[in-house]
Amino acid sequence: MQQPFWRRFVRNRPAAFGLAFLAFVVVLALGAPLLFPGDPFRIVDMTFLPPFGAYLFGTDSLGRDIAAGIAHGGRTSLMVGLVASIVAVSIGTLLGAVAGFYRGWIDDALMRFTEFFQTIPTFLFAIVLVAIMSPSRGSIIVAIAVISWPPIARLVRGEFMAMREREFVQAAICLGMTDLAIIFRQILPNVLSPIIVAGSLMVATAILIEAALAFLGLGDSNAMSWGFMIGAGRSFLRDAWWLCAIPGIAILLTVLSINLVGEGVNDALNPRLRTL
């Protein structure tokens, strides 16, 4: 007796909260041009006005409206996180599945290929890529995707290798199902939950990597993002806490929501857990 996925999902209260908050962030990001028209980099007032005064979140070191930055920055941060993760998870899952399923020389070749990307320490690799391509939104997305897929590939491969030996897979092979069908219909659904967990963590990581790059001065100077705001505000941590704290909290809550949603999906996909 299984309830539909959606019902199971919303019954999980943290996940429902996560989804609600995430929806709020998405609406805010999409509505930014209406809510805060104009350039978010525009200098609107005195510098360092504290929050909850004339401006909801105050102004920053140049006198820019932080609330406008949060709204506009949400677009960039979410987009960077999402696009980079989707690209990375797709590549990682595909290569990991193929390697883990076929093994042999295909596995060898793909894993050697993966190894190349893993041999350079990840964050350093991202820095190298961004430095080579010049910091911009595009180069940051590419860099994050490039460094993020190998762990997924290895994870999926490990799961596939274990699944390959399972009775139901062996049975499917005996029944003469095509490889494609076995990979996508038989095995993939069974290893989806670690992929979803890893994928949701990756959106989080991607947003954090964007912030870390900005912290090191490698953000896109033309696109307002939460990472940029933290990078620009970090020197003022001691005397204007809100410059870093507000985008920091925005990142924290968004990442938290993404993770809760991810876990909710995981739990809803594995109803067995609920019956324990």
Partner: protein, 535 residues
């Protein structure tokens, strides 16, 4: 600045007089011992200050290597390794009488042969600025161990301002004379005659210097040890000073907004002295060969549009002085500075800029913009990024849509000085000890050299200004030099190949228990032989 009373000033003068009379060992109440921790940012690439003028190197090596001369706050030379000197009336012969009994850290004596070697074989050949500074020197004669006579092809008055241990370190011939000076095995184990001996360099961490007990100024130095630490994160650097784990930091090592907070702490003090021979200037270099900036009216317009006072107040937190033109007002004392130029910091600057742009043939389009450009940002830290963001907004006010580009050092240098692929770029240059050394390079036609960094990147020049600089370089008479330079400043301000934004006043943060650390216009580039710890 705290207001000093007449009384305290005369007291200081009296003390100074007393100190000058007394033998060094008994002077004042200096105490022996203690370790001074200095923060230098970034870590120097090497310790070969005879080979590279990279800023952080000098902050370390000036304690190890002495120069022939030192300089007072009046910029006048004072004896150091040279006890005395004389310049012939035609300026083509300069003789130095060297101090007796000076020993290098390895115990070998310092003689005129070392001077000859250092100048002729090292500085004149491989030192980035020495090649220019000693261009006119044809020979260094050494009639005896204590005499070095410089023979010059032409008078070079600026040379006398460039003989400090920071700018022209005296290095031992018996060590660096053998092998390739450019990749010498002792490059990072410097041996000098200075107050502190090199002990070790732990890369990424620190350089340790210990007291030289055989220093030629007997009794000095007072400190037992200097440790120079390298801390990559700026907030961390502030925390270290605040906690007393480090005692001195300068050259923007501490974020400008933190300086005020640190200055308010009881144990710390802040000074902007000690940069008078460096005279850093914040500017925006304009590519005068690329349209629309080949039009002088457009250049003048952006010069008006950039709000200098905003940059000083909001980005450098007050650590700047409005710049008027090509030469820093630090040269007021030597009579080379002139304020009689076109003034771009006027109340109606935005209006002026709009008017000039209209006149130049760039009317506002329907969307309010006139044209689009890319504004490059010099990659030397986050103030520059904020400055770029501010300039972007100020240009938007006059209808210029600027996109920002922030790249790393190598990329930016190549773009600006090799490819000339930029419109406007923020920039940061030192006027140094003399305009010949620090100012000519930005305007002289001979210094439009593709691939050479920090020279004439705007590629603007004129026969008239070239002539003025040529004359000023060889002119020993200060008043005449001043007249040439006044004219130069006027003409360059009119042509506006560069937007001079402000004269950056680097704050040096000092722990109050340490005394006499900043005692010359070279500041942190000083030897620290007189610095002492008051326990």
């Amino acid at each position: 600045m705290s207001g000093s009373t007449i009384f305290s000033r005369s007291l200081a003068a009296a003390l100074l007089a007393a100190a000058l009379c007394a033998a060094p060992e008994f002077a004042l109440a200096q105490k022996r011992g203690g370790t001074l921790v200095q923060i230098t940012q970034p870590e120097p690439p090497t310790l070969a200050s005879y080979l590279s003028t990279s800023g952080p190197i000098g902050q370390v090596t000036a304690k190890i290597y002495d120069g022939l001369l030192e300089y007072g706050f009046d910029m006048k030379p004072q004896p150091c390794l040279a006890e005395s000197w004389s310049v012939a009336p035609d300026g083509k012969t300069v003789s130095f009488k060297l101090r007796r009994g000076v020993k290098f850290h390895d115990g070998k004596p310092f003689t005129s042969a070392d001077v000859q070697f250092t100048i002729m074989e090292v500085l004149k050949k491989v030192h980035p600025r020495g090649i220019g500074t000693f261009k006119e020197v044809t020979a260094v004669e050494t009639p005896d161990a204590q005499t070095a006579i410089f023979r010059l092809a032409n008078a070079a008055p600026y040379m006398m301002a460039a003989l400090s241990g920071y700018e022209s370190p005296m290095i031992p011939k018996h060590i660096y004379g053998t092998g390739d000076i450019r990749s010498h095995e002792s490059a990072n184990k410097p041996v000098g005659t200075g107050p502190f001996k090199f002990v070790e360099w732990r890369r990424g961490e620190l350089v340790r210097l210990d007291r030289n007990p055989d220093y030629w100024r007997s009794g000095q130095p007072y400190l037992d040890r200097i440790v120079v630490r390298f801390i990559a994160d700026s907030a961390t650097r502030s925390a270290l000073l605040e906690k007393g784990e480090a005692h001195v930091a300068g050259f923007g090592a501490v974020p400008y907004n933190d300086v005020k907070r640190l200055a308010a702490l009881p144990g710390l003090e802040v000074t902007t002295k000690g940069y008078e021979m460096i005279s850093p200037v914040v500017e925006i270099t304009i590519n005068t060969k690329r349209p629309p900036f080949d039009n002088v009216k457009v250049r003048q317009a952006v010069s008006y549009a950039v709000n200098r006072q905003f940059a000083i107040d909001s980005i450098w937190f007050g650590y700047g002085r409005l710049a008027t033109g090509a030469i820093s007002s630090n040269f007021k004392a030597s009579g080379l500075y002139s304020a009689d130029v076109r003034n771009y910091s006027v109340p109606n600057a935005v209006e002026m800029a709009n008017k000039l742009l209209d006149e130049a043939g760039f009317p506002r389009k329907a969307d309010g913009t006139r044209f689009e450009i890319v504004h490059d940002i010099t990659p030397y830290g986050e103030e520059w990024q904020r400055f770029g963001e501010a300039v972007q907004q100020q240009l938007a006010q006059v209808g210029i849509k600027a996109t920002l580009r922030y790249e790393d050092v190598a990329t930016w240098l190549k773009r600006t000085y090799t490819d000339y692929d930029f419109f406007l770029t923020s920039n940061f240059l030192y006027n140094l000890a003399d305009p010949v050394l620090g100012v000519h390079r930005s305007f002289h036609s001979a210094l439009i050299k593709q691939g050479t960094v920090f020279v004439n990147g705007s590629r603007w020049s004129s026969p008239q200004t070239d002539e003025l600089m040529n004359k000023a370089a060889l002119e020993p008479d200060t008043a005449k030099r001043g007249a040439y330079y006044a004219e130069l400043q006027k003409l360059t301000a009119e042509a506006a190949p560069i937007i001079w934004v402000h004269e950056l006043l680097f704050p040096t943060i000092l722990n109050k228990r340490y005394k006499d650390v900043i005692v010359s216009p070279l500041g942190i580039y000083g030897a620290y032989n007189r610095a002492w710890l008051d326990r």
